[in-house]
């Protein structure tokens, strides 16, 4: 909500879509490679900064991927299937019932990245949000789950 945030996060509760926007001082080709090549992907996907213990990418429509964090006890592997591969501007994949879209746009020497996660249902959004909740699940989170279940009807 504040302008000084590096990542702009938007949640559209009507379309159950979560959108992240971020600017990188690197060409689109590099950002695309970072998203689609295991030797790059494994270095940044885990939010803790640890390299992935396993990173499999079959980059073609219908091809699968699997990202396993080193600390897999806390989070299960992230698996899914690519739906659209348009180097270096767009990547669409399906994972855990949601559709993820990565859009890369070159502007003034920087790459503007938009990542959107469109959930098929309120329950799926619930699942995705739960992935981010490790230990500190608090009461407010339960409200979200309740709320989203309600609004999907």
């Amino acid at each position: 909500m504040l302008n000084d945030e590096k990542t702009k996060t938007t949640i559209d509760r009507d379309t159950l879509t979560i959108t992240f926007q971020r600017k990188f001082g690197a060409p689109c080709e590099h950002v695309f490679a970072a998203w689609t090549e295991p030797e790059h992907m494994k270095h940044w996907w885990d939010p803790t900064g640890l390299p992935l213990s396993e990173c499999v990418i079959d980059l073609r429509p219908g091809g699968g991927f699997k990202f396993t964090n080193r600390d897999s006890a806390h989070s299960p592997p992230f698996t899914g299937v690519y739906r659209l591969v348009e180097r270096p501007s767009q990547l669409v994949f399906e994972a855990m019932g949601a559709v993820g879209t990565v859009r890369l746009e070159s502007k003034d020497g920087a790459t503007h990245m938009t990542v959107s996660i469109r959930c098929a249902s309120a329950e799926h959004l619930d699942q995705f949000l739960k992935l981010g909740v490790d230990v500190n699940t608090d009461r407010t989170f339960d409200h979200l789950v309740d709320y989203l279940r309600k609004s999907a009807r």
């Binding site: 690197a26 992935l131 608090d138």
Partner: protein, 112 residues
């Protein structure tokens, strides 16, 4: 049940950029309708309408001064609830993108 209605109102209230800006302003301290209308370049009735929506959603309330009727942010109000929902997920992805940012900087430098 009641909570869901409140969250509904909260999201509807946050959907408007002017209201988000008013909340940002009030997070720095209370302000009256006329104090708010100046920086936003809006007429007082318009500001009052936005304030009503924010008040109904529980984000703000009237301060003690009955004469000036300043509005203030409700501490621990719905803003905390909304943030509590989104925060864990957002932080996970922000962490990821921070990593990506530093990684891309390394990629830019030739290795050999």
């Amino acid at each position: 049940m009641h909570k869901q209605t409140q969250l509904d109102l909260a999201f509807a209230a946050l959907a408007d950029p002017t209201r988000r800006a008013i909340l940002a302003r009030l997070s720095q301290g209370e302000a009256t309708v006329s104090e708010l209308s100046r920086p936003f370049g809006l007429r007082q009735p318009t500001i009052s309408k936005h304030l009503r929506v924010l008040e109904d959603a529980g984000f703000i309330r009237q301060g003690r001064d009955a004469q000036r009727r300043p509005r203030q942010l409700v501490v621990g109000g719905p803003l905390k609830d909304v943030d509590g929902w989104i925060r864990p997920f957002r932080e996970q992805w922000e962490g990821r993108f921070d990593n990506l940012d530093s990684y891309l900087k390394k990629m830019n430098k030739p290795k050999k």
